[in-house]
Assembly symmetry: D2
Homo-oligomer: 320 residues x 4
């Protein structure tokens, strides 16, 4: 780990060493990983800074109960699964997570579209940004997808990928050098040329590419966090934000294992079947002639999406 300065590691280490006694619900596996940065992408991280509640607190809230309850774990698991299956969202809102994140600006632009969360971001009006830019691995540099206008297709040739990587690095370095030149200031606050005036930070930063890293505190309740994960840990999400979502998903697994399991079964691994798809499936379960999906209003992209989920269905259909 060399993503942070010595002083930053020192601060983190002190926070980790301080322990207090509390009457609040406490989650041992989450305590173990508190404050330590989890690496994401080439220079980013996610750190747990605070949390509220656990699986039992979800149950306690759903029951509006007086204490932590004396029920068995198995009962708690069953109730949490029921709540998730039927999208009873409010008990999940009773748990809360606070993270410290370093991510590129283009990732935060997708991230902050999730409106129900509290954000404090490092201010480029107030402070000088660090010289840290995202440059994708050669392996994740891919061509524009033909089939999905929002996504990536095949990997590029090694040669072209190298060239792209070089362009991204060079342009970022060039823009950042001019950023400092316009500020007339080094990142640690030294004036570069005493005979010149420094441009206002809020203006100089407009020269910086959206690949530059920024930092923020993010506090969100469990339900809205799961909603974020259902969209951002999804294959349709851009690879870079998915890398953060995957890291956070592993934190959630440590924190609220029952809620995580229910989320995996009923949301991440589940599929919403339309009324048309349900009708076709019901017919397909009854032995008989092959079926024409167009009779059920299914064709084209929507049919392909269904067959991707349920390839066995194609044996019961007449060829398109």
């Amino acid at each position: 780990m060399n993503r942070l300065t010595e002083a930053q590691y020192q601060e983190i280490s002190e926070a980790r060493d301080a322990a207090s006694s509390t009457r609040r619900p406490t989650c041992a596996p989450l305590e173990a990983l508190m404050f330590t940065p989890i690496d994401v992408l080439d220079k980013g991280f996610v750190r747990v800074v605070d949390y509220m509640g656990d699986d039992a607190a979800i149950v306690q809230g759903a029951r509006v109960s007086y204490g932590r309850g004396t029920r068995k774990t198995s009962t708690d698991r069953g109730l949490i699964r029921y709540l998730m299956r039927h999208r009873h969202t409010t008990p999940f809102e009773l748990a809360e997570l606070k993270l410290h994140v370093r991510a590129p600006i283009f990732v935060t632009r997708q991230w902050f579209r999730h409106r129900t969360a509290s954000i404090n971001e490092y201010s480029a009006r107030y402070s000088v940004l660090e010289r840290e830019f995202y440059v994708p691995d050669i392996d994740s540099i891919a061509a524009q997808s033909d089939s999905n206008r929002q996504g990536r297709g095949e990997k590029m040739s090694a040669e072209q990928a190298q060239e792209i990587s070089r362009i991204l690095k060079d342009d970022a370095a060039h823009c950042y050098d001019n950023y400092l030149l316009m500020l007339n200031e080094t990142p640690d606050g030294q004036i570069i040329d005493e005979t010149r005036t420094g441009l206002a930070r809020e203006l100089a930063r407009i020269n910086l590419p959206v690949g530059i890293y920024t930092q923020f505190y993010w506090k969100v309740n469990l339900w809205n966090l799961l909603r974020f994960l259902s969209l951002r840990a999804d294959p349709h999400a851009q690879y870079e934000i998915r890398a953060y979502a995957d890291a956070i998903l592993r934190i959630v697994e440590q924190w609220v294992p029952h809620a995580h399991e229910a989320f995996s079964d009923y949301v991440l691994g589940a599929s919403e079947l339309s009324s048309q798809a349900l009708a076709l499936l019901r017919a397909a379960l009854t032995p008989g002639e092959k079926l024409d999906p167009r009779n059920y209003g299914l064709a084209g992209r929507e049919l392909r999406e269904l067959l991707a989920i349920m390839p066995e269905l194609s044996n019961r259909l007449i060829p398109e």
Copy 2:
């Protein structure tokens, strides 16, 4: 304290006795009052069930810092006052409070208009409500205000207050008896008459007055909590919800003393002066003739509101 059953006190007592070690920010004065109900009105309460953050966490979030920081308390206080004065709301959103509340339905109807919070309420579709109704103290039974159509005026005669108290108690008892009769069930689940069918709970409850007590878990971030308090700890708020706001204000004082102090100075004790009021005040600070407030666009109710805040101003004004 006899507002709860023995079993409920037992549950609370067990939760209080359990202590764990944590790396999270901990607030000793808040730990001391955790789980114990604070009495509000005749049969209501507020209990702290969980919390996240403290004054230092507000500062840490505002600085997007790596650790708890090594700054002095006096610096933290100054920053918190600055943030409050300039309504930089997001750092205050980084602290969170979870309460368990028992309050009359008409109070919750005002309470839940505050939309940015998480609520789990005891369900009268699912469970039988307790026989607990709010009956105001004789001292808080007051006449309709003449000047303020939303508020109370003079206290009523002892005799009339006694009569009102009696009506409220009798009607509540009568409606609740019929509630059980329709349910064909006692509060502890015994069937009353084996030859009859019990009405669905979701229907039987429509007979109950809005003075009946209900219970809920309420989780809210500090900024939205302060917003709630600024409206509900205000003299214009109905006395009954103000009683809850006052109790919560004392909890906030224990929890985040710097934020509480700044809130008292810059919000609760502050006044917003209009551009007209500012112009009049500036003129009044310059010695000279008495001023006509109508020349500044001030008259009637708005002028009276200003003089209530600043009675000394009237010496500088010509009589209305």
Copy 3:
């Protein structure tokens, strides 16, 4: 229609008669039903007071386009279906509906749990409530369900239903009479007894049952409206709020027919199948031995819910 006073009908009639010219998207079928109350329950109503946008505006927003576009209706329909299927929520947020509603307080308590909407409710602190209480039809008075603790079971005997209807009416009348007595005021503002003082309205109303009607303006964007409908037009919702949801669903059908159709196919008529259910279905589509659902982690309530959606599946399962 005799739910409103003459003066109210007069006001509505004037609003209906006023027509202006506008450059905004306009929806003829919605214009036709604007302002006129649609009856709901025994004394409630829903009225369209204003709207913004239509199906084409959803498409326009999704494309961030400059004009209304020249695309064909069939293309718009396809895009709207795609947006709904993949839960791209923001274009649906670009349409907005404003309603005036009269509903019983216990219905509004469920309604207002939907937090992302704007509400202005008639104030019982400020004004005297009308003498209007919900009394269920004899036909919708039902027993508590055995299987679903939140719902209704079989209908009650006519005799018992009559008795319940009578209790509800009598208690409401009795409480309302005492409400006026305590106010010392008739609904139209006449003092009842000059020798007495009227109790503050905010206190007198605590005697009123949650079955009393209140009124509010409700403004919500289309996405949050559809979310409301998906929960409240559902068979698990209480009958009384479902009656309002059904009325609003018919308004939506007039207003944005493509969005309504997509919502019916992909939300209302759709089912979310868990990863376990999907695995079982895939196996069931392949001819072979009967399957044991427990091998797929499916049993009890969850299995019954699946078979309710897809009864044909039971032929492929070994008996429980």
Copy 4:
């Protein structure tokens, strides 16, 4: 006006020409400016795309009334001023505005921190961004402020400003050229080099500076719009977002003149005075000795902020 293409002007012109009849509240001055872009900064704009409600609709909602009402304009104005003065926010939520905006990415990053609004932004994953970058006027290129770490200080020398302008233009052009090179595509979709593969759009865009223009639809209710304006039309806001806020403020003035006037008097032109400031002012209004502000807990930055609002006060204070 040459900020748009011919085709875009064509689309706008068609939308302007289409008029329909409606029963909804209509605002003639707003109709007049609908769809036409209002220039902001060097290449940005704001366009009214739709609206709901007017001053009368705010009043109607506050009264939960049946029709548009027959009250006089003067009464409406008085009620709106009362609602604004006492921050009764919900009636203002009943009006809604939809804008189409072109703004630089760094401006949208501040804009989208306002969470209670609906946004549809042009997607750089899906489409190729236009070659439009913000370059400040020579006159608005200013040095970093010494006193305000978030703001601008003195203007720079013409020579240095010219150099900065040149750097910003050159770097933007250079980065954009490489963006197209990596895409292997011209803005109108022509392949540049048939022997190469185009990089995925979602990756190529990370080379673009935050000064590039993007576009979005923004829909917000009047209360949240006023909240946005109170923060972004403020002198502490960055000049570039203030330019948008000022343009929108003029739209609001056309749309809801009473609400705009009340907002100017009670929010924009008003000041919140702390309990300390109020105590000092009350003493200052009473003739007598000069006062020591430290006795009232006022000193340093906070005192300077007070004297900036009320310079006449300094005559009543002992020198610092």
